[in-house]
Amino acid sequence: MTDSKYFTTTKKGEIFELKAELNSDKKEKKKEAVKKVIASMTVGKDVSALFPDVVNCMQTDNLELKKLVYLYLMNYAKSQPDMAIMAVNTFVKDCEDPNPLIRALAVRTMGCIRVDKITEYLCEPLRKCLKDEDPYVRKTAAVCVAKLHDINAQLVEDQGFLDTLKDLISDSNPMVVANAVAALSEIAESHPSSNLLDLNPQSINKLLTALNECTEWGQIFILDCLANYMPKDDREAQSICERVTPRLSHANSAVVLSAVKVLMKFMEMLSKDLDYYGTLLKKLAPPLVTLLSAEPELQYVALRNINLIVQKRPEILKHEMKVFFVKYNDPIYVKLEKLDIMIRLASQANIAQVLAELKEYATEVDVDFVRKAVRAIGRCAIKVEQSAERCVSTLLDLIQTKVNYVVQEAIVVIKDIFRKYPNKYESVIATLCENLDSLDEPEARAAMIWIVGEYAERIDNADELLESFLEGFHDESTQVQLQLLTAIVKLFLKKPTETQELVQQVLSLATQDSDNPDLRDRGYIYWRLLSTDPVAAKEVVLAEKPLISEETDLIEPTLLDELICYIGTLASVYHKPPSAFVEGSRGVVHKSLPPRTGSSESAESPDTAPSGVQAAEQPAVIPTQGDLLGDLLNLDLGPPVSGPPLATSVQMGAVDLLGGGLDSLMGGSNTFAPAPSTTVPTTLGAPLGSGLGDLFDLTGGVGTLSGSYVAPKTVWLPAMKAKGLEISGTFSRQVGSISMDLVLTNKALQVMSDFAIQFNRNSFGLAPAAPLQVHAPLAPNQSVEISLPLNTVGSVMKMDPLNNLQVAVKNNIDVFYFSTLYPLHILFVEDGKMERQMFLATWKDIANENEAQFQIKDCSLNADAVSSKLQGSNIFTIAKRNVEGQDMLYQSLKLTNGIWVLAELRIQPSNPSFTLSLKCRAPEVSQYVYQAYETILKN
């Protein structure tokens, strides 16, 4: 007798017993055994050895037993692929069972067995089940196609299952439709290139019908699918919206969110003036509010989604501020999210309420929440200008409480308020200084130091204060050290006499005793600046800084648009696109909002169009890097107005690569590129002149031209001299009226408005005939083109040079002055043609010393061309004579103030130089008339 039995018996035991039971004849015992097997499987024991025995139990008419065996198969088929084939026959048979429940069960289980060999056998039963008479089987089969596609996509395509699936969208049973849509969406998601779900209005209609009848989950599948559809125009979008809105009253919050997603997306296409748009806004609010009455976890999901919606369309919830008020026993994550939304909804109308609440929160127990509440007050001040004063006084009240962390937060936000409203609330500095000693957090210390540095000239003991900080310089955090360095340098520049020692001390601390590269570098920069040129240092360090922007915490518009497309998914809770957290191929598809269809616009470029539309609507966000670069480059480009155009365009190319910034350069560019193509003319009369007139002139179609020559626009007022406002322009004269064509470009970081213009008295009494009309505030990096009509009835004062014009332009920021020279020919009137006799008489009458002679060089036109070209600008040829091969043109013109100028132009065919003799009773204009001649002839 061998000892082998020990080895075999130890292996047996439970498994062996189960095996025996599974092979028992008694049905009841078999079922018990399978239950035991499943139980062991569930707790993680390996019962795969029983595979053949369990599969043997599969052929039974007991549904419970069958379900258990199927469960076992799903779990172990993968580890025993060869054995799994044994089960195939039963599957095929079960797919033809008279009971639809069993047919569906079989097809569902087969799909879950991820074994390649089995999939081949699966095709036939699946094809049958997809066309089964029972909808329950069809809907299960639809999902099975998606499963199979995941295992073997090629097979599914070859077998034509996708087409069958598409047909199921038109199925009579709504549940089948819903499942088919779900399956197709999933397949489409993993294969973004396949256009499986290219829906047309007919299929959309079917989906909308099914939507009303299927279960809640089916509704979600359909709504999600609808959200990916791009309606062809606003009417279609509206009709879909109308049929989706009832879903907002569903008890299932997931259905509500999906419906909200569809509406938010399609609203993009509806015109805002539409009545329906307003109705829709009203309908969206209550369901969103109701979502907040759920459990805290659901509330959080709802709040995260609402946060997105509020950023996109604040008007939806603008009256619902109160529902976001915080209850003291809300979980902290709900509190913080509510707080955030409250600030986003804060406006002039409700600011009092909000501030009262925030003040209440600032006395709560939870320190984190209190800090956020104090910050929120500051954000309100920056966001709602009218409330700034109230916010500041609330913050001062809070500082009086002397609660340490409240004081520190308050100081941090007051610093930001100063940066938004400089020179307005300095009176509070004294109060702040009282709390200097209690500040122990780096951020608060840095904020306080910044305030002291910025307002050093108004704080008598600024040097003492900063010195006290300097004592423990090395123990401070980098943030504080950097701030201290800057503040002391500012102080030095403002009060150089008393603080020399202090500045030397800080510079040496920063450069010699510190090994922090930021600190050292900044220290050296200041040091060198101060030692090379203190005046320049002053200009650099104390230069006016752009105000901080309103909302620095908005989600970037393109990301926001993408996230709106993902409402009701994890992406909208994380506020990150799915690609940022989903691994693998799924979710990489970028979704974007549909472009707003106005009247004729077609969705040719869905990728670029929406972002463009958005950009125009969005409030100013933090300037992106591109913008900043554009701005900086622009500063460099600004001054050399006459710089070679070639160089400019090269630079433009470079900026283009950086993205952004391009518009700002184009708008104000002084190149000869036809700039108007990027901007839209606001008035219809003259602007044609600027770009097109130019071209007409070059082609020489003089006879048809109704207006005189218009010079290309030049920069009159560079942005750096006018706090970001750039003005370029030119003058034009058309059918008797003079106008000044302007392009205003906003290169600052804030919106400009309230424009007005005024002229100083000038030689010809030029004055604006109408106020400067800029209809909308000018957003950062936008340009507006304006044609300002002029008349000549203003007051007269002789200028030097004669054609000098001094202009003042005002906007909400400041008043700016510049002067420009206007070409005289804009003053040449239409009735400047003199009678021949009159001409002769006048010519003789004017004394010879009033005659001036000029050379017009390098002009290759012949006499006729010259004459017609000049006529376009109201210089009329009265007679033409040919003397010894030379063409003599006798011409006349009249200025707006009635001065006649007579001219004799001598043209020699071989010589490109013309001789111009001018006679005028007011000889001082001659030179400018000559300049006008030259400009006209040479362009």
Binding site: E28, L63, L101, Y136, A251
Partner: protein
């Protein structure tokens, strides 16, 4: 319930049909006949247009009960004025009716409701056009409707709290006094009143005497709870006494918020009233019942 990650059936009626819930009778039958709780027929409701109801329902007593339950969420400020108040209402139903009844429920004042979310059985179109709830009910218990009333003037506040809580700076004793009273209750009794308040950390102990009910202060969690019971309008319940504060520390910065719970039977505080309930589609006469109740949801009084 799930297939390939897609949720399929969550309707309890269908699930119950697929796997019948165990009852004593059924267990006995199963052991004798060898049958199981697993249904071997396709649930009939799943594919019909009324997936929430099973067919072949039979009852000897046909009855339909509706509970209108409203919860008030409110924040009341120091001075007793309302900062926000809203009502979250639900209508829970228990319908045990034979066959395929088609019910309509109408309200006296349906325009009261700001936002409604319905059980899928409710026909939305009729609500839109006539403000009537028309539906084929699921069998058994279900939530027919939840609604929301947020219009400030419609939300009556049924109780008030008078409070006087002061932490004295110098001594280590503080004074504590609260009184609860009814207000706008339409003559109904406020019962099940429970006052809880999270006291600041600096409070070591509290010595209080209630005029009625029992109170507990947990010195570890600093949670004070006072089980008041019914409010008798003639003799308002109050809780008075003193607090022992931690010696040597400054007075607490934060004020405790008072949380209130209460119940009012036979009253829907929003004033919502069911007008009538009619049944079509079946011949028998059902027994109908409607109950109203108002509860406090998150009802907070700041001090």
């Amino acid at each position: 319930m799930l297939d390939n990650g897609f949720p399929l059936a969550t309707e309890s009626n269908i699930l119950k049909e697929l796997i019948k819930p165990p009852t004593i009778l059924r267990t006995v039958v199963n052991t004798i006949t060898g049958s199981t709780n697993v249904g071997d027929q396709l649930p009939t409701g799943q594919l019909s247009v009324v997936p929430w109801r099973r067919t072949g329902v039979k009852y000897t007593n046909n009855e339909a009960y509706f509970d209108v339950i409203e919860e008030i969420d409110a924040i009341i400020d120091k001075s007793g004025s309302t900062i926000t108040a809203e009502i979250q209402g639900v209508i829970d139903a228990c319908v045990k009716l034979t066959g395929m009844p088609d019910l309509t429920l109408s309200f006296m004042n349906p325009r009261l409701l700001d936002d409604v979310s319905f059980h899928p059985c409710v026909r939305f179109k009729r609500w839109e056009s006539e403000r009537i709830l028309s539906f084929i009910p699921p069998d058994g218990n279900f939530r027919l409707l939840s609604y929301h009333v947020s219009a400030q003037n419609l939300v009556a506040i049924p109780v008030y709290v008078k409070h006087n809580i002061s932490f004295r700076d110098s001594s280590s004793l503080g004074r504590f006094e609260i009184t609860v009273g009814p207000k706008q209750t339409m003559g109904k009794t406020v019962e099940g009143v429970m006052v809880t308040s999270q006291m600041p950390k600096g409070v070591l102990n509290m010595t209080l005497t209630p005029s009625q009910g029992t109170h507990i202060f947990d010195p570890v969690t600093k949670l004070l709870s006072w089980d008041v019971g019914k409010i008798n309008p003639q003799k308002l319940p109050s809780l008075k006494g003193s607090m022992t504060l931690q010696a040597g520390t400054s007075k607490p910065d934060e004020n405790p918020t008072i949380n209130l719970q209460f119940k009012i039977q036979q009253l829907a505080i929003s004033g919502l009233k069911v007008n009538r309930l009619d049944m079509y589609g079946e011949k028998y006469k059902p027994f109908k019942g409607i109950k109203y109740m108002t509860k406090a949801g998150k009802f907070q009084v700041r001090t």
